[in-house]
């Protein structure tokens, strides 16, 4: 029962209550009606008894001519019995004594009413018996009637009760279900809003129902919880932003001082090496602080963005230029494939950073040649960065876009594991997305960005035609 949804439970309880109420009402009506009908049957039997006794008093033999007074022959009976059960006289469809021995003895002492089955009648008979007056209990008069009509009326009543009752229960269940649904609607509205709420961005709250009930109180409590969560999320974000911001100056000072010492010279080879390494670490630290700042700001939508229409081919070629030497050192090539008229609406600085992170990842963690492909898609422009490595594997793919995720647990590797998190933050900041595309071979990370204005694409296409460049031809 506890596993059933609350709506079903409410409906069942409702239906059960209706069944109980209906059943008691029907039972009461049934009993009342039977007693009324018995009363009227008893009245008729009484009349017949009076007629039978008056005939007996007159000494007349009960003849066929009098049968009308005593009721119809096949549905009724009239008998004069001795207490030992022998029939003095019988009229009607029944040819045995209408009363058992015990009933006869009781009837010899006073009037009784019994119901019993008798051969000759289709249904139970109701029998009224009393001692014949003035015979000192030596004779008993019994009149009776088959209860066919009464029983048929009662069973018709029961049938009507069952049919109408079932319909009533079904209707009641439907109404109960509808009421439960309406009553629980605020909960459902809250649930849907809660599913859509994010802690960053606009401070949204759960909608509250108009009624001051438990559901509203639940909503209020959840809203307070949301506020608390939002505040702590905000504190964390601001901490990261402040910390990385505050780190910038000391890092810059350290780097300047170290480079100053290096430039002044007069150092031994080992000292130079140590200082040069420290300068390199300063750069990494600075990059890390910048990355954290980007992530912290993107988390609350404060990442400064200056989107402008940018030709995708140019961006990809730029990314290739920056990394082609490093790739060549490892015997790997970078290919670019992009239609010349493809334009994205993006912040150049950020997109260059995102592409750089992707290509850098492909060089460091992937294998084989690297392909940068772009194409128009229904929801914007898709840029795929593919290498021929072993892929992410399901484990890593699931958390590749989280902060500080590395391919291996060892910290010896380069990079803080922020690269893909930044890519995702940048893509999301543009209203796009980033995802890992599972393919048969290699690793593909797909960046989706909003497409630029069509007139810009048209202008690019025209310029492209002018310089006799063909679209879809690999640019490199």
């Amino acid at each position: 029962m506890n596993r059933l949804p609350i709506r079903i439970r409410l409906t069942l309880a409702f239906a059960l209550a209706v069944v109980v109420v209906l059943a008691s009402a029907c039972g009461f009506v049934f009993v009342q009606m039977r007693s009324d009908m018995n009363d009227s049957i008893d009245g008729a039997l009484q009349t017949r008894m009076t007629a039978a006794i008056s005939l007996l008093d007159r000494g007349a033999a009960l003849g066929v001519s009098d049968a009308g007074l005593l009721g119809e022959r096949d549905e009724s009976l009239a008998q004069l019995l001795r207490p030992d059960g022998r029939m003095v006289f019988a009229l009607g469809a029944v040819h045995v004594a209408a009363l058992s021995g015990a009933d006869l003895r009781r009837a010899a002492r006073g009037p009784i009413v019994v119901e019993r089955r008798l051969p000759g009648f289709d249904d139970t008979a109701r029998i009224f018996a009393q001692p014949a007056p003035g015979r000192d209990g030596r004779l008993v008069v019994a009149v009776g009637e088959a209860l066919t009509d009464r029983n048929e009326a009662l069973s018709a009543l029961v049938r009507a009760f069952v049919v109408a009752g079932s319909i009533a229960v079904v209707l009641a269940s439907l109404v109960g279900y509808a009421l439960a649904t309406v009553g629980l609607r605020p909960v459902d509205t809250m649930r849907r809003r809660a599913a859509a709420i994010s802690l960053s961005g606009e401070p949204e709250r759960l909608p509250l129902g108009p009624a001051r009930d438990e559901i509203r109180r639940l909503g209020e409590t959840l809203n307070e919880m949301l506020d608390r969560l939002r505040r702590s999320f905000e504190r964390e974000r601001r901490f990261v932003a402040d910390a990385s911001h505050e780190l910038r100056s000391p890092i810059a000072v350290i780097k300047t001082e170290l480079e100053g010492v290096l430039r002044r010279g007069g150092l031994g080879g080992e000292q130079r090496e140590a200082l040069a390494a420290a300068v390199e670490e300063c750069d990494r630290l600075a990059a890390l602080a910048e990355d954290l700042l980007v992530l912290a700001r993107s988390a609350d939508g404060r990442l400064p963005m200056r989107p402008e229409p940018l030709p995708v081919a140019g961006l990809l070629v730029g990314a290739r230029h920056r990394f082609v030497d490093r790739a060549a050192e490892r015997g790997r090539a970078i290919h670019v494939e992009a239609p010349g008229d493809l334009v994205v609406m993006a912040d150049e600085l950020r997109i260059r950073q995102a592409l750089a992170n992707l290509v850098d990842n492909a060089i460091r963690h992937g294998d084989g040649d690297i392909d940068l492909r772009a194409r128009a898609a229904p929801d914007g422009v898709e840029i795929d960065v593919t290498d021929q490595g072993d892929g992410f594997g399901p484990d890593l793919a699931a958390r590749a876009f989280e902060r500080f995720t590395r391919a291996s647990e060892s910290r010896s590797g380069d990079g803080a594991g922020l690269g893909l998190a930044i890519v995702l933050a940048i893509a999301a900041g543009h209203g796009g997305g980033a995802a890992i595309v599972e393919g048969p071979r290699g690793t593909t990370v797909r960046l989706t960005l909003p497409a630029g204005p069509p007139e810009h694409a048209a202008a690019l296409a025209a310029a492209d035609a002018n310089t006799a460049a063909r679209s879809q031809v690999p640019l490199i």
């Binding site: 100056s249 810059a252 000072v253 300047t256 001082e257 100053g260 300063c282 910048e290």
Partner: protein, 226 residues
């Protein structure tokens, strides 16, 4: 070389000036914008290194005040890596270059040398020819105190003239300066736009500043029209 460093962070100022002195460069330090402006007025510096974040007013304002007062010392700004807004404003207000923190000392020094070579030549951010004034950053044009609204093409045409007052510019030079390559064959667009420009810049003021030099092209009078 003599350099003024406007930087409020003492450690950063110390680090940079130490490094500069090691290179044989004389470095004075100002800790506030006000002090920086005053020192730039008082002394002849070859280059000014300007941090954008200052306690009183920001580095962009320092640029604006110095250029307004006709101090043409080359200025290099120090900005955060993501502070593009600051860099754009700074460059538009008369700064000449920037490096982002943390910078490479070698690069900063190279840029200092490059800027020092230019010398304190007047490089006004707002062009003025007679009564005509044009601000390339805000894309606004005035004759005396009346602002003139120009289309993008008219604006770039006028800017071309104002950067070369008194020079005769040929059709081809004007086409190159203000039109894409696609317009090459249709050289009469220049005449059309010169007419538009005169309608807006000269006619309403009863002046004549853009002169036709028959057989050569056009010229903007040095006095901005008479």
């Amino acid at each position: 070389m003599r350099v003024l460093l406007v930087e409020d962070e003492l450690r950063m100022a110390a680090a940079i000036s130490r490094a500069l002195r090691a290179e044989g460069i004389v470095a004075d330090v100002a800790n506030t914008g006000t002090r920086g402006v005053a020192m730039a007025h008082g002394e002849q510096y070859d280059v000014l290194i300007l941090d954008v974040m200052l306690p009183d007013f920001d580095g962009v304002e320092v640029c604006r005040r110095l250029r307004r007062d006709n101090v043409w010392v080359p200025i290099i700004m120090l900005t955060a890596r993501d502070a593009i807004e600051d860099r754009v404003r700074g460059l538009d207000q008369g700064a000449d270059d920037y490096v982002t923190k943390p910078f490479s000392l070698a690069e900063l020094l190279a840029r200092l040398r490059a800027l020092a070579r230019r010398g304190p030549v007047a490089r006004p951010t707002v062009l003025e020819v007679g009564g005509l004034r044009l601000d390339p950053a805000t894309r606004q044009v005035w004759r005396d105190d009346v602002e003139i609204v120009l289309s993008a093409r008219e604006f770039s045409l006028l800017e071309t003239f104002m950067r070369r007052p008194g020079q005769v510019l040929s059709h081809l030079q004007l086409l190159d300066a203000a039109w894409d390559l696609g317009y090459e064959q249709r050289s009469n667009v220049v005449e059309v736009y010169i007419r538009y420009l005169r309608e807006k810049v000269d006619r309403p003021f009863g002046l004549k500043s853009i002169e036709t030099v028959r057989g050569f092209g056009y010229r903007l009078r040095r006095d901005g029209g008479a």
